[in-house]
């Protein structure tokens, strides 16, 4: 633990160890640094040049820093390209705090070890085993597969299938909630078909709602049914984390996102809003999404301001709320 971390006050787990929560500053809570579709690393057509990957990520992190960003959360979990040693070097060289996640999901992204284990019958992993796997990534450190453990995970991220949560995804969500309860890190969920249903699964584990961030609430189907407001009413964090994405249907536009932010503030939930771009620093095995990590700061915050959001509210959304979410309890 660093000297500053022992000085008291809540801390956040970064890849370089715990830092005082108040040091986080402006934080992008749902981004991807290196994002690798599981298996792509073995494909002959996919190059994994570490120097090139480092360079691309360093440029993007410096751009974020140059626009006032201080902390990036990599929400890809433990099996989608996470490279802890790379992130340590990036954080040291750019000065940006990097919070990495444990967790997995949706089911489609899991390895056979969890879905068809070498038992008869091949029963998929239950919640308790996922909880144990994820908890150790916080208490003992994140794995570099078959090599070593490194620093502690700062959150647990999981996701459900778009056409509805599967049985194994319920185990993942419950396991993630148990890890959050056991370790004090928050849970970040990407809901499948129904945000409230999926949120209720983690709340059913008696995890306080303010330890949960529900991502993807700028999906049009969620906005149309009023899910963002309802999630906030239950006490969970509402992540509008596709800022900058205008995909002509699945998600709302930035202007609609901005209206939603103002509506939530108006309804008294300014302390529950989180913004992020779901950008992909480097994509392997799937299409690139080269939105700058700074997009929220350079484009969306000015839009919010033009629509009437005050500086204090903006600061709260960009810095205070992520700090509250990520501070270990």
């Amino acid at each position: 633990m660093t000297d500053t971390a022992t000085a008291g006050g809540p801390t956040v787990n970064t890849v370089l160890g715990p830092v005082p929560a108040r040091e986080l500053g402006v934080t992008a809570v749902h981004e991807a640094l290196l994002s690798v579709v599981p298996g792509a690393e073995y494909a002959p057509e996919v190059s994994m040049d570490r120097a090139e990957i480092f360079d691309a990520l360093a440029r993007k992190l410096k751009d974020f820093r140059d626009h006032g960003g201080k902390t990036v959360v990599d929400s890809t979990g433990m099996f989608h390209g996470r490279d802890v040693r790379l992130y340590e070097a990036l954080s040291r060289s750019t000065g940006v705090h990097i919070v990495a996640s444990t967790g997995m999901g949706p089911e489609e992204m899991l390895g056979g070890y969890f879905l068809t284990p070498q038992t008869n019958p091949p029963t998929p992993w239950p919640a308790e085993k996922f909880a144990d796997l994820f908890t150790k990534e916080v208490t003992e450190g994140m794995v570099v597969p078959r090599v070593e453990r490194r620093g502690p995970a700062g959150l647990v991220a999981t996701a459900a299938a778009r056409d509805g949560m599967t049985a194994t995804e319920e185990s993942l969500f419950r396991g993630a909630a148990r890890t959050a309860l056991a370790t004090g890190v928050p849970v970040s969920i990407r809901y499948g078909r129904d945000a409230l249903h999926d949120l209720d699964v983690v709340l059913d584990e008696r995890l306080p709602a303010d330890r949960v961030v529900v991502g993807g609430l700028d999906r049009r189907d969620a906005v149309d049914t009023g899910a963002p407001l309802e999630v906030a009413r239950r006490g969970a964090f509402v992540a509008l984390d596709h800022v900058g994405l205008d995909d002509g249907g699945t998600h709302v536009t930035d202007r609609e996102r901005a209206s939603l932010v103002l509506d939530l503030v108006e309804a008294g939930f300014g302390h529950r809003i989180l913004l992020s771009g779901n950008a992909i620093g480097v994509a392997k095995g799937h299409p690139a999404y080269d939105l700058p990590f700074s997009h929220v700061l350079t484009a969306f915050v000015p839009l919010l301001a033009s629509m009437g959001l005050g500086d204090e509210e903006a600061r709260r959304v960009l810095a205070d709320n992520p700090q509250e979410l990520l501070a270990l309890r």
Partner: protein, 317 residues
């Protein structure tokens, strides 16, 4: 020129010697690398593996075919160092143990993409190792029936085998009708296919051995040694005498040319405890004595351990 692809380069079939045709240096389900309970230091892995390969060599073993699929911990650089230091030829595979061991990137691929992958690993190389795959691994997912993904992989394997001349080796010989249909449709002669794990306790009763022989396929009694008599037998174990009798029955019925044997052991398992007391050397320590004891002559044993695998593994022009 006849040849077989090993991790250290092509060799003449005459050099193969005794072949263990379905083995694993180390196997783990994809994702097991995240679970520290299975981790071993490199020292431990070499310590568990090298003496087994050296013993294999001392017994007269020549070639070890590693049937560990792409996402199951296949590690060709490691195999190269083992082969170079122990003198055992190691043949690595392309392909997947089953659809349920293909990670999402590959599970989403089309037959064409998978075919290109297999052909690349057979003709250009596996990763940046420079080593060429010598067999194509395919298999039936857990559940007993071929899944849509299994069938896609089988079809790609059939095309890659037809294009390159490398043979196909299967994990499980259950539900073989769709597999045979795919191989026929793709024009792959069935003597280029070894239907493996036809002998284990769980699957032998569900495997139509004679039907596969009648189609022209080869059959692998390649889980020799996974016996109920072991201290802690796995769920696929089978009584020793029952397996042997089953094998002898097929041998005596005239199927020698289509039979292959192996032990499917892990030198140093990667994502499971492994089975204590079971190694590739079961072939020499138990199987050969058992066969001799049952009156099988040396020529037959040579056919099973040398001639048949050499014929199977030789790249067919």
């Amino acid at each position: 020129m006849s040849k077989v692809n090993t991790v250290l380069g092509p060799v003449a079939p005459e050099e193969l010697g005794v072949v263990a045709v379905h083995e694993h240096i180390g196997y783990g389900m994809p994702g097991s690398e995240l679970d520290t309970r299975w981790w071993k230091t490199p020292e431990q892995r070499y310590e568990e593996t090298v003496p087994k390969l050296r013993r294999f060599r001392e017994y007269g073993g020549g070639t070890f075919v590693d049937a560990t699929g792409i996402c199951n911990g296949r590690d060709v650089d490691y195999y190269k160092s083992l082969s170079e230091k122990t003198g055992v030829h190691i043949v690595a595979c392309t392909g997947f143990v089953g659809g349920d061991t293909a990670l999402p990137y590959f599970a989403r691929q089309s037959v064409d993409q998978l075919t290109r992958l297999f052909v690349h690993e057979i003709t250009v190389g596996i990763g940046d190792t420079g080593s060429l795959a010598g067999v194509i691994k395919v298999g039936v997912s857990r559940g007993g029936r071929m899944t849509e993904l299994d069938k896609r992989i089988y079809r790609a394997a059939a095309r890659a085998a037809a294009a390159t001349g490398v043979p196909v080796l299967t994990h499980l010989a259950i539900d073989p009708e769709p597999a045979v249909a795919v191989f026929r449709e793709e024009g792959l002669p069935l003597d280029r296919v070894l239907f493996g794990h036809a002998d284990d306790g769980l699957n032998a009763p569900k495997t139509p051995h004679r039907w596969i022989f009648e189609q022209g396929g080869r059959i692998g009694f390649d889980t020799f040694g996974y016996e109920t008599e072991l201290e802690d037998p796995p769920f696929w174990a089978r009584p020793r005498q029952e397996r042997l009798d089953h094998f002898l029955g097929l041998l005596n019925a005239g199927y020698l040319d289509q039979l292959l044997v192996s032990a499917d052991a892990n030198c140093s398992p990667l994502g499971w405890p492994g089975v204590k007391g079971h190694t590739v050397n079961y072939i020499f320590e138990d199987l050969v004595p058992d066969l001799r004891g049952a009156g099988v002559d040396d020529a037959t044993i040579t056919a099973l351990l040398e001639d048949n695998p050499a014929d199977f593994l030789t790249i067919r022009a």
